[in-house]
């Protein structure tokens, strides 16, 4: 008699646990025979990408009413979400060998070899899904915006195309274009619909990111100039995926130009011709994306932008826009310059740990609730930097998952702040209180959200943090440069171990500011002014529930993400020589 509950009932009854396990990827169709779906997938991707922009343009037409703009935005985001789901399901069940799917490759600006090259692989697909799903909720969260609704929805839809474009672009030039395109609508969305200091915040956000873009542009120019004209490398400069058998991210021969010296099995190899350039380029692209992430000390645009931005825009800013930074690092910086990444691992990892602790301490000092959440974002994104910097497969997995998890939790947290702000008309933590008594449901979902943010296991915030910390400890002794005087402990107290210990301390600070905030805002007796607060609507509860349940689902079944990313990360690991 086999154990009934555990081995028979549990895997089915506890469906979330088993969900990702029951259906093995690629088990449905024979992946060698192209299906009809394969033929239309590129179109599906292109529709998903440009449908929002099209609908956005319609929103600006004269005669479009507020209600129809809202409906159009909702339908469009739903449509885009549905299309991305089609791609995701196909990718999940029917992965082809290269790991890149739904590819459109058309010559675009032939004089500089720039192509219109879009497609999905494990690296961008989860982020695409995050973007499309979150945008539906953002439109719902913006439902009550009355100031120039049509323009708001239109700009948001433009923004959506920009964000999706950044993720699906497989051509560096195209990537750069979308990176810039996503900037402008955001500038208007903050600058027009924002709070009292909206102009300052908007221009700060704009200029900061632009400064980063210029770094990226400079590197692109450098890349293009360094590859001799007429060679294959020159033609392939902008390619973000190799057209070969495996999805190996960035043309192998381009990468070889920027290789550093190594001590391989066959004796030391000299550095590639442009090793010094590689170091400079690495740092430049690093800065470009760390600004977006944002990492300390390039982060000060973030609190201002968040505080001034309207709630839905904060959600999308924290939920998706910050991920462009991490994604850029994983798509461009690290695959292009893996040796430079190895060379500079310690300063970058230190930046990550500093962000974790410094962001946490800054959050601890806030009395503006939204600013606290904004600084918690800085702290959480520090795990992304750290996970990448330590160059382990576990760290990469953790960094990536942390981006997805933070996309869910930070969007939820900003939404909760917005819900309260709409009623209290201020965000001063010291002047709030007793909200749990007034709105038990809000209290419950908030507790879930902030626990997920705190990285409590079983919720999505935990997986990323755990893997990043594990990955950091793993890196010990496998990367150049150790802390002097650490030899006495048998090489155990290397730089990575010490960074890992500090990163673990982050959980205490996170608990500190989260619980302090929760105590002030939600606990305590109900305040007299709360009597006039409007009840929380079903729409608002719906958004909370959707994000809250996602936080639980991805905490329990992180495999839903990892099953998608795995093949690409495998390739990435071999490219980067991850441990």
């Amino acid at each position: 008699m086999p154990p009934l509950i555990l081995t028979h009932l549990a895997p089915h009854a506890l469906a979330p646990f088993a969900l990702a396990q029951l259906i093995e990827p690629g088990s449905f169709t024979d992946s060698t025979t192209p299906s009809l779906l394969d033929a239309v997938l590129p179109s599906v991707l292109n529709w998903m990408l440009f449908l929002p922009a099209l609908a956005g343009a319609i929103c600006f037409l004269p005669g479009v009413s507020r209600a129809s703009a809202r409906a159009l935005a909702l339908l469009t985001t739903l449509g885009s979400f549905a299309l991305s789901l089609v791609i995701a399901f196909d990718y999940y069940f029917n992965q082809n060998a290269s790991g890149v799917a739904a590819v459109t490759l058309k010559p675009w600006i032939e004089s500089i070899h720039a192509n219109y090259h879009v497609g999905v692989d494990g690296l961008n697909l989860p982020l695409v899904l995050l973007t499309t799903s979150l945008s539906v909720l953002v439109v719902l969260a913006a439902w009550r915006i009355e100031k120039a609704t049509q323009a708001f929805m239109g700009l948001f839809l433009f923004l959506l195309t920009g964000m999706l474009g950044v993720f699906v672009a497989l051509d560096l030039f195209l990537f750069y274009l979308f990176f810039e395109v996503s900037l402008l609508p955001m500038y208007f969305l903050i600058g027009i619909w924002g709070g009292p200091r909206k102009e300052y915040a908007a221009i700060k956000f704009f200029l900061y990111t632009l400064a980063g873009s210029i770094c990226l542009l400079f590197v692109m120019l450098g890349l293009y100039c360094l590859t001799p004209a007429g060679t294959a490398n020159h033609v392939n400069t902008w390619q973000l995926v190799d057209s070969g058998e495996q999805d190996s991210l960035i043309s192998e021969s381009v990468r070889a130009l920027f290789a550093g010296p190594s001590t391989g099995l066959h004796g030391p190899t000299p550095a590639g011709p442009y090793w010094l350039h590689a170091q400079a380029f690495f740092l430049l692209t690093l800065v470009a994306f760390l600004i977006k992430l944002p990492a300390v000390p390039f982060h000060t645009w973030l609190p201002d932008a968040h505080v001034e931005a309207p709630t839905p825009i904060s959600m999308i800013l924290a939920g998706v826009l910050l991920k462009m930074g991490g994604y850029g690092l994983m798509r461009v910086t690290y695959p292009l310059f893996p040796d430079a990444a190895r060379h500079f691992w310690l300063p970058v990892a230190t930046l990550g740990v500093v962000a974790i602790l410094y962001g946490g301490f800054c959050a601890l000092a806030q009395t503006d609730w939204k600013k606290l959440v904004a600084y918690s974002s800085v702290s959480h994104m520090g795990y992304v930097t750290l996970g990448l910097a330590v160059l382990t497969r576990t760290g990469f997995d953790g960094a990536y998952f942390q981006m997805i998890a933070h996309g869910i939790t930070s969007a939820l947290m900003f939404f909760l702040v917005g819900v309260v702000y709409d009623r209290a008309h201020h965000r001063d933590i010291n002047r709030l209180g007793g909200l749990w008594l007034k709105f038990p449901g809000l209290g419950g979902w908030s507790l879930l959200a902030f626990c997920a943010g705190m990285g409590l296991p079983g919720l999505c915030g935990f997986v990323g943090e755990l893997l990043v910390i594990f990955g950091t400890f793993e890196a010990n002794g496998q990367l150049p440069g150790t802390i002097p005087g650490s030899a006495g402990s048998g090489g155990f107290m290397g730089a990575a171990t010490i960074l890992g210990l500090f990163a673990s301390l982050g959980v205490v600070i996170t608990a500190g500011y989260t619980l302090w905030m929760f105590q002030r805002v939600f606990m305590g007796p109900e305040r007299p002014e709360a009597a006039g607060y409007a009840p929380i609507t079903a729409r608002e509860y719906g958004i909370m529930a959707a994000l809250g349940m996602a936080a639980v689902l991805f905490g329990l079944v992180p495999l839903l993400v990892f099953r998608l990313t795995d093949p690409t990360f495998y390739a990435l690991a071999s490219v980067l020589g991850l441990n």
């Binding site: 100031k147 410094y358 382990t392």
Partner: protein, 717 residues
């Protein structure tokens, strides 16, 4: 796999999941559908869970191997041999013993809460939290791996936060629950670091060490941390007894988690404050859950902890044991006395584990769970009867009004004091005296280790004499609490006038627990005692549980040293406090005593140190970071922007004469155009944006036309 094992796995899985189901039911449907019935629903569910656990305990046979089901993939770790961090279940002797104890106490606490929480406006939610809390603890006990254990570990932290802060309208619970959670998180940071080190070194195999060799349900042997670790160390020519630095470091880091959860020095300050929660919460937190989790973890990990870690654990336990007892001596709040007594008793367990007295430490965990739970419930009944008053100085003479509660309290006082006559005693006697006897051996072993074959090392013997002394103190402070509450004449008669015996829902669990406190070790031995004994892994530094294994000398010696501690302590306590606190107050004024009294009363100034210094420091660092952010980083950014703007202005060749400069002409022209375009200033943002984008499009088109024109010209040429 044998049918028995399958049966037991089923029973334990059910025992664990039933409280979760009932918690979710109450959380989502309690208020709407169940209302006042919630208490009974939760209690019956817990009773069902308890039934399953007891059935599993009685079905367990000591010759069964540990069984590990570990099949639900959770987090992939492609960098390590294990591939996945799985979820699963571990069943061995210790699991069945612990599950039975936890569910039994949880059921009685649920029952007690029905009476205690009657009339609370969040009645349903209380039971939801309580069931969730129990589920979390059961999850810890059945977890197969260290990572999975960490999941439930944090769930225990979260649910304790909810329970301690249940009355969050008041400032006390609000602060106490935050303190508890943050203190636990400090320990958890260590846990996480230890976890990470083990994970890296062991290839991702984090299966908890089980009693003996473990197998999968289909009978395939499965390696736990212990086996993997010994194999790895053997390759490095090391062993757990002569370990590499990382193993000791990892052990200490992991034990930090237990320091937090089991409220050991120096993270002990949350536990006394946690009594701000409703009394049923104290009764369960202080007995079967939460504080038991740390002891359980340490016991589980004992085989892989190095001698250095053992010494560390023993030292922490020793300090906690002594300071807890000292503080319990002088507290005047009845729940605080019990809380500090818990600290001290936990100190015994942790000290015992550090010394390798695995059996007795766990036995004491079980025994203590029953009598401390009962003591808190009695205290709750007293507080209920006294209209919320908790001060010992206001009680007195309650025996007349609450004889049943007094009897329960008396039994448990005897149990915790370890009362015995002619070798037959209450539960505390067996566990505590045995533990102290093991400490005798540890003291000797330590002496030998520090001075191989040489002169004696006096410090080592503090590990024996401190627990002996605390045995006397324990009996004394318990007698003090008992005497001040129940004996003598009422000191505040109006308080006592309305006092009455607790309702049946509270009396029944109290009585049941008192009974269990009597029999938990002598008779219950057949149940959990033997399970615990059998689970003691055969590793050299674990001392056996039988009299022969401990050694006749140690047992004899300890018998003389603490055999009558209970009598001496209780007699002293009753004598000093029979007439109220005035004799003690006089005693406290004596020169030497006074200083100590002040120290004890101020809890060794730990709270002041933490609240003032550590919290202050954190706040100062946060303030500094914030200032740095605004005044340095952001100021630099703003200054840069300003400088760029000024620079742009200064390099303008048209600057000197503002009125006639071309720049201004442009501006004037723009102004004129603005006048002309005034009608478009309709205040409609949509129009603005449309114009902005429209003009951008126009410019773009113009550029494109130019480019094409240039190209065409090029071709033509």
């Amino acid at each position: 796999m044998t049918p028995v094992q399958a049966h037991i796995l089923d029973l334990l899985a059910a025992a664990t999941l039933i409280p979760l189901a009932s918690a979710l039911l109450l959380l989502f449907a309690g208020k709407r559908w169940l209302g006042r019935l919630s208490g009974w629903v939760a209690t019956l569910a817990m009773a069902g869970s308890c039934g399953c656990a007891l059935a599993a305990l009685s079905a367990w046979q000591d010759n069964l191997p540990a069984t590990i089901v570990f099949e639900i993939p959770w987090i992939p770790v492609p960098g390590q041999a294990a591939g996945y961090l799985n979820l699963g279940m571990l069943v061995d002797h210790l699991t069945v013993a612990m599950t039975a104890m936890v569910t039994l106490i949880a059921t009685l606490v649920h029952l007690y809460s029905i009476g205690y929480m009657q009339g609370d406006k969040r009645f349903e939610r209380f039971f939801a939290y309580l069931s969730l809390f129990t589920f979390a603890m059961l999850g810890i006990v059945v977890s197969a791996s260290l990572t999975q254990l960490f999941v439930f570990w944090e769930l225990v932290g979260l649910t304790s936060y909810l329970l301690i802060g249940f009355w969050f309208e008041r400032p006390g619970p609000r602060l106490a629950c935050k303190k508890a959670f943050v203190m636990n998180r400090i320990g958890d940071a260590g846990f996480l670091a230890g976890l990470a080190i083990l994970y890296c070194k062991l290839g991702g195999n984090l299966l908890l060490p089980a009693a003996g060799d473990a197998q999968t349900p289909s009978g395939v042997p499965i390696e736990t941390i212990y086996q993997t670790l010994t194999a790895i160390l053997a390759d490095e020519n090391a062993s757990i007894l002569s370990p590499p630095a990382w193993l000791t470091f990892a052990g200490i880091a992991l034990f930090c988690g237990a320091i937090g959860k089991s409220a050991q020095f120096p993270l002990h300050t949350w536990l006394p404050d946690a009594m701000e929660g409703p009394t049923p919460v104290s009764s369960i937190v202080h007995s079967a859950t939460m504080v038991a989790a740390g002891v359980y973890l340490t016991a589980r990990l004992l085989p892989i902890l190095t001698p250095g870690v053992h010494l560390f654990i023993a030292t922490i336990g020793l300090v906690t044991l002594v300071i807890g007892a000292c503080m319990a001596l002088v507290m005047t709040d009845i729940k605080r006395v019990l809380a500090y007594s818990t600290l001290s008793q936990l100190g015994y367990m942790v000290l015992g584990l550090g010394a390798g007295a695995y059996n007795f430490a766990l036995l004491h965990l079980v025994a203590h769970a029953f009598f401390k739970c009962c003591l808190f419930q009695c205290a709750g009944s007293v507080i209920h009867a006294a209209g919320g008053k908790q001060d010992l100085r206001s009680f007195g003479g309650l025996w007349r009004k609450m004889p049943a509660t007094m009897a329960c309290f008396a039994v448990c006082t005897l149990a915790i004091a370890g009362a015995s006559v002619m070798g037959v005693g209450l539960s505390g006697h067996y566990s505590k005296d045995g533990l102290i006897a093991c400490m005798h051996n540890y003291g000797l072993a330590l002496d030998e280790a520090f001075n191989p074959g040489g002169t004696t090392f006096p410090f080592a013997h503090i590990f024996y004499w401190a627990p002996v002394a605390v045995a006397y103190v324990t009996a004394f402070y318990m007698a003090r609490a008992f005497t001040l509450t129940f004996l003598g004449s009422p000191r505040e008669p109006h308080l006592i006038e309305h006092a009455h015996e607790a309702p049946l829902t509270m009396l029944v669990p109290q009585g049941a627990l008192a009974l269990l406190a009597v029999v938990a070790t002598p008779w219950g031995m057949a149940f959990w005692g033997d399970r615990i004994n059998a689970s003691a892994m055969i590793v050299p530094w674990v001392q056996g549980g039988t009299e022969e294994q401990v050694g006749e000398t140690a047992v004899e010696f300890t018998h003389h040293a603490v055999g009558f501690a209970w009598l001496v302590g209780i007699a002293g306590g009753v004598a000093l406090y029979a007439a109220g606190t005035k004799n003690a107050a006089r005693l406290a004024k004596l020169p030497g005593v006074r200083l100590l009294h002040t120290w004890f009363l101020n809890k060794f100034y730990f709270d002041g140190l933490y609240d003032g210094f550590v919290v202050g420091l954190a706040k100062a660092v946060a303030g500094l970071a914030w200032i740095l952010d605004r005044a340095v980083i952001d100021a630099a950014v703003d200054a840069l922007a300003k400088r760029v703007r000024e620079g742009a202005a200064s390099i303008s060749p048209f600057d000197p004469d503002p009125s006639g400069s071309p720049i201004n002409s442009v501006a004037f022209a723009a102004q004129a155009a603005d006048q002309a375009l005034r009608p478009t200033h309709s205040g409609r943002i949509r129009l603005y944006v449309l114009l902005a984008f429209g003009s951008a499009a126009l410019i773009l088109m113009a550029v494109l036309i130019l480019v094409f024109a240039a190209r065409a010209a090029g071709h033509a040429a």
